[in-house]
């Protein structure tokens, strides 16, 4: 036997074994799956019966502490766990606040300098304080948690963990004993103290210090106390905030507390619907202050303790986060009333039923949109956004220009939901800039001319697949004071045709520009072309088209636009220092009140002078005076008239090009019920329902594995082996030269 023959025999035997192993492996795999599709990423779950919602996260949430969290991906989790005093009605529009953990909507009382109650219609000058007395619902309990576990002697079990007890503890569930206790007014007050604790760094600390009576003093004394405490507690431990009180926030009794606000600030009620004001048990703070737990990444920022419908049972930001139904969740019911059309859409089918409907929510780390989309189509995710990669596959325009689902999506039973978000993206002029800034007629005309030339309708169509509406003013739809139709049109930039606004012609823009002193884009005095600078963080190849588009818009007027691309840090610092000339920026509403938008142009909030949110540094005394009246007014005719005047001023002054309000598109499967876009509510999950049987059926139907291509490839390689074998044999037979 030749040496190759020996090798050949060995190789054939190896190949045989290889195929045997593969065959055995496949059989074992198929058997193990017992009828489950092979591509099911959740084979360990009991899918047929469990009401599990599958969602994802692409970036781990930075904070889950309600005093610190402030972004949408953080609220998606903690909104289900922590319950502030108020919530937004799930179905009602316009957005309506209702009690969540409190007995009834708190009524505001106004007080004068002596602390005496004033009439509701008292003038602002008379009002020294606004006072809210809040009644906490009785019988609400915190989720089961080791922080509340008590021994038979009624001592807290895990608050002084020894090294021995900490051995083998790597996650919270390793501490087996759990306990709970009733929610009291003290827990709400404790959380308000946490907002200014030296250990917390709440993003709204400065804002609330301005509004809540005594919070600033409490912060100062607490900081001093903390410094002293630190000297005696080198190894850390629980710094107890209960030892001092805030003069304006008091516990009245077990179920009542009082908050005193400086002056009149009607928007405070909206803050009461945000997790910042959700109750926090001191036991949780004390438990998580243990150094042994902090070393193991077990902190309040990672394992929340709330009263909500869900509790976070697994938090592995490297892989997945799991919310499970809180067994101690209080009674809560699906709303019985909604807005018009909700009943027809089936949104009231579950009216009056006990919440929540879903038992478990699994958030899986999914960084890329392509695999997410594919898994959504296979039925492994219940809902999806529409990324630009998948837009054409999912959405099509009808003959009338209406957006709708493609046939392939509709056949799968996928539904589309769209909503204009309560946010605005705008191009800001730095009003401190000598060329584009200022309130002179000349600079106004320059900005208005640019406003006509920069065609945001075209931008939305080219870069956003039509997902947005061009703004006519600062307010997005859904906010009090927003007006559609001819009343809401920006008359400086648009003409109203019969049924829609039409951007004014370029000729008008050029005329305005000439009046501003720049005929055909050249300075009348010097003859030099007008050069403007656009600061942006976009610099990648994907942004090139967008930046070119901006250049093109300005060049319509003969203005040269120079793009100054920089990183986000430099960009922020330029805007902070007033060194940017033109920039794009955005704002997402904290609450559905016009004050939350108009304050972005309020003079005292100027970025340069006070570090506030007025990035354009716009200052107009007429606007400021009207804003001060409007912000504290009740919604009504008078407020609407003030809003109209405010809109008129900023449309005329044009400190911004009111760019666009993006439209959110979401897709969801047939089995996902009770979905209604609610841009304000954070606790939407408890209302939603999954028909897991239908989901299971569809997953089975959509995911039959296809084996024939593998057999085909094996066959192809076998056929290829024939000429190889021939060449080999030929070579072997060849003689040397």
């Amino acid at each position: 036997m030749s040496s190759f023959g020996r090798y050949g025999a060995v190789q054939i035997a190896v190949i045989k074994r290889f195929f045997l192993v593969i065959w055995l492996g496949m059989t074992a795999l198929l058997m193990a799956c017992s009828g489950e599709p092979l591509n099911n990423p959740y084979s360990s779950e009991k899918q047929a019966t469990s009401k599990v919602l599958y969602s994802s996260f692409s970036e781990r949430p930075k904070h889950l502490d309600p005093a610190r969290a402030y972004s949408s991906n953080e609220y998606a989790i903690i909104g289900q766990i922590y319950e502030p005093p108020l919530q937004y009605h799930y179905l009602n529009r316009p957005y309506l606040l209702e009690p969540l953990t409190v007995e009834k909507m708190p009524v505001v009382h106004y007080l004068d300098k002596k602390g005496l109650r004033l009439r509701q219609e008292a003038s602002e000058e008379q009002i020294q304080w606004s006072e809210y007395v809040i009644s906490v619902k009785q019988g609400i309990h915190f989720q089961p948690h080791p922080a509340f576990a008590r021994s038979q002697e009624d001592n807290l079990l895990y608050h002084l963990l020894s090294d021995k007890q900490l051995e083998g503890v790597s996650q919270l569930s390793d501490l087996k004993e759990q306990g709970s206790r009733e929610l009291t007014a003290e827990d709400f007050v404790y959380q308000i103290k946490r907002l200014v604790s030296p250990l917390t760094h709440s993003p709204i600390a400065e804002l609330m210090k301005h509004h809540i009576e005594g919070l600033s003093d409490f912060e100062k004394t607490t900081e001093e106390r903390y410094k002293k405490w630190q000297k005696n507690h080198k190894n850390g431990g629980f710094f107890d905030l209960r030892q001092a009180d805030i003069s304006g926030v008091q516990v009245i009794d077990r179920y009542h507390y009082r908050i005193r606000i400086r002056g009149k600030y009607p928007q405070f009620k909206y803050w009461l619907a945000m997790p910042f004001f959700a109750p926090m048990a001191w036991e949780a703070d004390s438990f998580y202050a243990q150094e042994g737990l902090i070393e193991k990444n077990i902190t309040l920022d990672w394992y929340p303790v709330g009263t909500g419908p869900y509790m976070l049972t697994e938090n592995n930001p490297n892989r997945r986060m799991v919310l499970e139904r809180n067994p101690l969740f209080h009674d809560a019911f699906y709303p019985r009333m909604g807005e018009e059309g909700d009943r027809e859409k089936g949104l009231l089918d579950d009216a009056g039923k006990n919440l929540p409907f879903i038992d478990k929510v699994v958030y899986i780390l999914e960084k890329e949109s392509i695999p997410y989309w594919s898994k959504f189509l296979q039925g492994y995710y219940d809902a999806s956004g529409v990324s630009s990669d998948s837009f054409d596959q999912a959405i099509e325009f009808s003959g009338e220009g209406e957006l709708g689902l493609t046939q392939a999506m509709a056949e799968k039973g996928i539904h589309l939901q769209t909503a204009v978000t309560t946010s605005i993206y705008y191009m800001g002029f730095n009003m401190l800039d000598p060329v584009v800034g200022g309130l002179t007629e000349r600079s106004r005309k320059l900005r208005q001319a640019i406003g006509i030339a920069v065609d945001f309708e075209e931008y939305i169509s080219i870069f956003m697949n039509g997902r947005g509406i061009a703004s006519q003013g600062i307010l997005p739809p859904g906010i009090f004071g927003y007006e559609s139709g001819s009343e809401g049109v920006n008359q400086y930039l648009y003409d109203w045709l019969i049924d829609r606004p039409k951007r004014k012609s370029l000729a008008i823009a050029k005329k305005l520009l000439a009046e501003a002193g720049y005929p055909n884009g050249r300075d009348r005095e010097t003859g030099k072309p007008l050069v403007l600078y656009f600061d942006t963080t976009s610099s990648g190849p994907d942004d090139k088209a967008r930046l070119n588009w901006y250049r093109k818009q300005f060049s319509k007027l003969g203005i040269q636009l120079v793009i100054r691309a920089t990183d986000y840090n430099r960009f922020q610092s330029k805007v902070r220092n007033g060194n940017a000339q033109l920039f794009m920026w955005g704002w997402n509403a904290d609450y559905p009140d016009p004050e939350n938008f108009f304050f972005l142009l309020y003079g005292p909030n100027s970025k340069v002078s006070s570090g506030g949110e007025n990035a354009s540094n716009y200052q107009n005394s007429e606007f400021d005076r009207l804003f001060e009246q409007m912000r504290n007014a009740e919604d009504g005719e008078e407020r609407l008239s003030q809003i109209r005047q405010l809109q008129e001023i900023i449309r005329r002054d044009s400190p911004w090009l009111f760019g666009f309000h993006p439209k959110a598109f979401s897709l969801y499967h047939d089995w996902y019920k009770n979905l209604k876009t609610n841009l304000m509510a954070n606790n939407r999950l408890k209302y939603q329902r999954i028909d897991s049987e239908l989901r299971n059926e569809k997953r089975q139907a959509w995911n039959h594995p296809v084996f024939w291509p593998i057999l085909f490839i094996v066959l192809l390689f076998s056929l290829l082996a024939i000429p190889v074998w021939r060449v080999y044999k030929k070579r072997e037979r060849e003689t040397a030269l």
Binding site: N39, P41, P371, S374, P709, V724
Partner: protein, 325 residues
């Protein structure tokens, strides 16, 4: 050899210090502690006061390299560079800027990275060497020509295409494995099949060509001619002689990357949602988390230096002529 190893280990310290210094400078050229604070505190309502508090709490209120306000050694010690870098040499990575223990995160994330990288390396190595040997065996024939052409074609395709194409074909069209995801224990296998397969296929083009070059260089040598003259078959020449003698360059390439297998692959892990170390550094750069960035760069450099040392040692094992002194 022990002296050599000790000397190499001592060289490691200035090297690591240099790497640390460069990382530090590069990071702080782009980001100031103020920027880091703003990134962590969020977008809305961030005040100067909040920024300075954040810096004090995390030790970023100190000067970068030199502290004039201190006396003596304190001038160098009470700086961000000293305070954040020294502990690294004791492998104490500390906490990330948002409070998580970095060592615990690395410990948790390196195993999924290894679970993909190790099988990809072994299977890839076997496949590449086998194909290279086949091409050398059939050299000067049409088979070898088309083999090289195919390799060049495979090399020319971007790694991203293999990933997206693989997910589309195997996960979406054939529905044989999950498109992405991960699980612990044996349940992880079904999630690993596709990334490993793609890792192997995407590396075949360049790997095969590289090993083919090594083997072709060997096959022209005198000892091969002697072996043939003895009457050995071509197969025996290739497997017994050429392969063994080509081991040094093969080892150079393989051993040096062994320690780095823990570090994972950014693209593969992102697309397959594998919770490995590949995206850990990039995420940290995006979040301006200097604590993680410096730890990962330090760890990467350390592992690379160990890799080089291991390569040197492995030479002595495969080639008795090599002596380390």
């Amino acid at each position: 050899m022990i002296n050599y190893v000790i000397r190499r280990l001592l060289y490691m310290f200035p090297l690591l210090l240099g790497v640390n210094l460069i990382t530090f400078v590069l990071f702080f050229v782009v980001n100031s502690p103020d920027d880091m604070a703003r990134m962590h505190l969020g977008q809305k309502y961030v005040t100067e006061e909040a920024v300075s508090k954040w810096k004090v709490e995390r030790g970023y209120d100190l000067p970068l390299f030199w502290n004039d306000s201190q006396e003596g050694v304190g001038k160098a010690e009470k700086t961000i560079f000293f305070e954040k870098s020294v502990s690294l040499f004791m492998l104490k990575f500390g906490r990330s800027d948002n409070g998580r223990d970095i060592a615990a995160d690395i410990g948790q994330r390196m195993w999924p990275s290894l679970a993909i990288a190790l099988p990809s390396l072994i299977i890839g190595l076997l496949a590449n060497i086998s194909f290279a040997l086949l091409m050398v065996f059939f050299r000067t024939s049409r088979l070898a020509f088309w083999g090289v052409t195919l390799c060049v074609a495979l090399m020319s395709i971007s790694g991203l295409f293999y990933i997206i194409g693989g997910q589309f074909l195997v996960g979406k069209l054939l529905m044989l494995v999950p498109i992405s995801g991960y699980d612990t224990g044996f349940a992880a296998i079904k999630f690993l099949i596709l990334p490993v397969l793609i890792g192997v296929v995407s590396g075949i083009g360049s790997g095969t060509r590289w090993y083919r070059t090594l083997f072709l260089e060997e096959i022209e040598k005198d000892y091969v001619r002697t072996a043939r003259a003895k009457g050995l078959s071509e197969t025996a020449v290739l497997f017994r002689h050429v392969l063994q003698n080509a081991m040094i360059p093969i080892l150079t390439g393989v051993v040096v990357i062994l320690p780095l297998l823990f570090m994972g692959s950014l693209l593969t892990e992102s697309f397959f949602s594998i919770p490995g170390l590949g995206s850990y550094t990039i995420d940290a750069i995006n979040m301006q988390d200097f604590a993680i960035v410096r730890s990962m760069v330090f760890l990467g450099s350390l592992l690379y230096i160990f890799g080089l040392l291991l390569t040197d040692i492995s030479y002595t094992l495969v080639d008795p002529r090599v002596r380390l002194s």
